[in-house]
């Protein structure tokens, strides 16, 4: 069939024709070039536009503020505070996810209940329950952990229970054929089969949690002596330390990138290695 043979050739020819030698560069160097150009534009705007340094900081000032923040320990304390709260919230969220999804996968009533509750809570922006958490727990870390755990729980349960429910029927029969029942079947067959969904759930969950904890800290301020990154940014704004506001944002973005890399690494060593990575 000549038509089906020529179609990909046309598509391939169209790529270099529009992009030139750009596509032949390795992906990391393409990104690096874009990054350098963007920082250049940023610096040019800050230096040449005459914008007030009280509302806008250039990359050099931000870099100085960022390095200074880490050097004097303030940024490190804020970052660790936020990560500690996020970590605790996620740990609680993961334990609850396992409990709820296994219950939902093994009993019909559990499945019905989880479907209903998650469809009710999922559309709620997770930071919206912060006032409620403050009523219940006061101005404490517990309130922030509660909000974060709630934020990660629902996207994870939706993904994981989908993964458990879509375990291939053949694998389930192989497991039952070996005499695996109940919890053993769940642990040895369904949970590993659900791993691709669990990892993408964890990815979505952490991203929800990350947004929520920063937003909650902005609203919440500080519980004790140490505030988190959200507090750091808001505090810097209050004292008109504009470069610090930018530096806080940079830290938040860098942590996001770093955690995403961790998830990619986990994925490559598990589901990609096992040929279970989904097309989606």
């Amino acid at each position: 069939m000549p038509s089906s043979n020529s179609a990909p050739a046309v598509a391939r020819a169209a790529g270099p024709a529009t992009a030139g030698s750009w596509t032949r560069l390795p992906a990391w160097s393409r990104r690096a070039i874009i990054l350098v150009v963007l920082i250049g534009i940023w610096q040019a705007y800050a230096s040449l536009s005459g914008v007030s340094p009280f509302v806008f900081a250039g990359p050099w000032d931000v870099a100085v503020a960022w390095a200074g923040g880490w050097a004097d320990g303030e940024m490190a304390v804020s970052t660790l505070t936020t990560l500690r709260l996020l970590g605790t919230g996620m740990a609680i969220g993961i334990v609850l996810t396992v409990l709820l999804t296994v219950l939902a996968a093994t009993t019909t009533i559990g499945n019905d209940a989880l479907q209903l509750v998650s469809s009710m809570i999922n559309p709620l922006p997770s930071v919206a329950i912060l006032p409620l958490a403050m009523l219940w727990f006061g101005l404490t870390d517990t309130a922030l952990i509660f909000v974060t755990a709630n934020a990660v729980l629902w996207p994870m349960t939706v993904n994981v229970s989908m993964g458990l429910r879509t375990t291939p029927a053949t694998l389930l029969m192989v497991g039952r054929n070996l005499g695996l029942r109940g919890w053993r079947l769940t642990r040895d067959v369904m949970m590993p089969a659900a791993l691709p969904h669990a990892i993408s759930g964890l990815r979505t969950g952490w991203a929800f949690g990350w947004r929520t904890i920063i937003a909650a800290e902005l609203v919440f301020g500080t519980a004790g002596t140490d505030g988190g990154l959200g507090f750091f940014i808001n505090n810097a704004r209050y004292y008109a330390r504009t470069p610090d506001v930018f530096a806080g944002l940079v830290t938040i973005a860098l942590i996001g990138i770093a955690l995403d890399l961790v998830f990619s690494l986990v994925e490559r060593h598990t589901v990609t290695r096992w040929g279970m990575k989904e097309g989606t």
Binding site: M173, N177, D188, T270, M276
Partner: protein, 274 residues
């Protein structure tokens, strides 16, 4: 006392009374959209210890349904499935299933893990499970891929792993649901010969679903021919000893089965001889 000297996997002597498996007037139906749809109207046959019985019939004749009932995955609507004198068996490792689908291996375990994990589940210690898994993988010619993952293997090799896994747990019966149905002709022919050889050596009983007459004659001692909708057992044909197309009686047995399937209106140039 008989001692099984030539048997690779010695097992308990069979109880003298009764067959290994009795499928007694079994009817099976499905629930579909609230309605009961009968799939198998009446099936009665036996499998003796170490016997190779083939379930042959056109598509939709309930072969796999009967196999799943023997495996314990489906309850018959009426009739009995009796294994070693016990009624209505639950799924268990005494009947090791091999499916047609290549995805029957656990993708997250290595080839070695896929074979040794079932052994650990059924009570072997770690070292023993590993030793036995390696032994059976070598038997199936898979010593090179012990540490590979299933997705790295061809379809034929995956089916070999599934057979090694099934044999390693030392079952009374192998239940095979068109295990070579998705393979190319060359791989299928090779695996059929190897399976015939290994089943004879281990004296494991075989209940094998196929829609290929040649496969049925080659591998089976007896062929249970199914037909009709819902299906019934048409005839049980003795094909023992016909383990090659040049064996005397091979052509006749094949002719007989062909005639039986032709009555079912099966397209003989298509699905039956591929």
């Amino acid at each position: 006392m008989t001692s099984a000297t030539t048997v690779a996997t010695p097992r308990d002597d069979p109880p003298s009374d009764g067959p290994l498996l009795l499928v007694d007037q079994v009817a099976i139906g499905y629930q579909r959209q609230g309605r009961h749809v009968p799939a198998v109207e009446e099936a009665t046959f036996e499998v003796a210890y170490g016997e190779k019985v083939m379930l042959l019939g056109p598509s939709g004749s309930g072969k796999s349904t009967i196999l799943k009932a023997v495996g314990g995955f489906l309850r018959p609507t009426s009739g009995r499935v009796v294994l070693r004198g016990r009624d209505a068996p639950e799924p268990g490792p005494d009947r090791a299933f091999v499916f047609q689908e290549f995805d029957q291996l656990f993708p997250w375990r290595t080839i070695l893990g896929n074979v040794s994990h079932p052994l650990k589940v059924t009570g072997s210690d770690r070292a023993g499970a590993r030793r036995r898994a390696v032994e059976f993988l070598e038997l199936m010619g898979l010593h090179d891929v012990l540490d590979s993952y299933p997705h790295q293997l061809s379809g034929g090799m995956k089916q070999r792993v599934a057979i090694a896994r099934a044999l390693a747990i030392d079952p009374l019966m192998l239940l095979m649901d068109e295990p070579f149905g998705a393979l190319d002709a060359q791989a299928r022919g090779r695996l059929q010969r190897e399976l015939a050889d290994i089943v004879t050596r281990t004296r494991v009983a075989l209940l094998f679903v196929t829609h290929s007459i040649d496969e049925a004659v080659l591998l089976g001692d007896r062929v249970v021919v199914l037909g009709g909708r819902p299906s019934r057992v048409r005839e049980i044909v003795d094909v023992s000893g016909l383990d090659g197309s040049d064996a005397p009686g091979f052509a006749e047995a094949r002719q007989r089965l062909r005639a039986l399937l032709a009555e079912e209106g099966e397209d003989l140039d298509g699905a039956v001889f591929e």
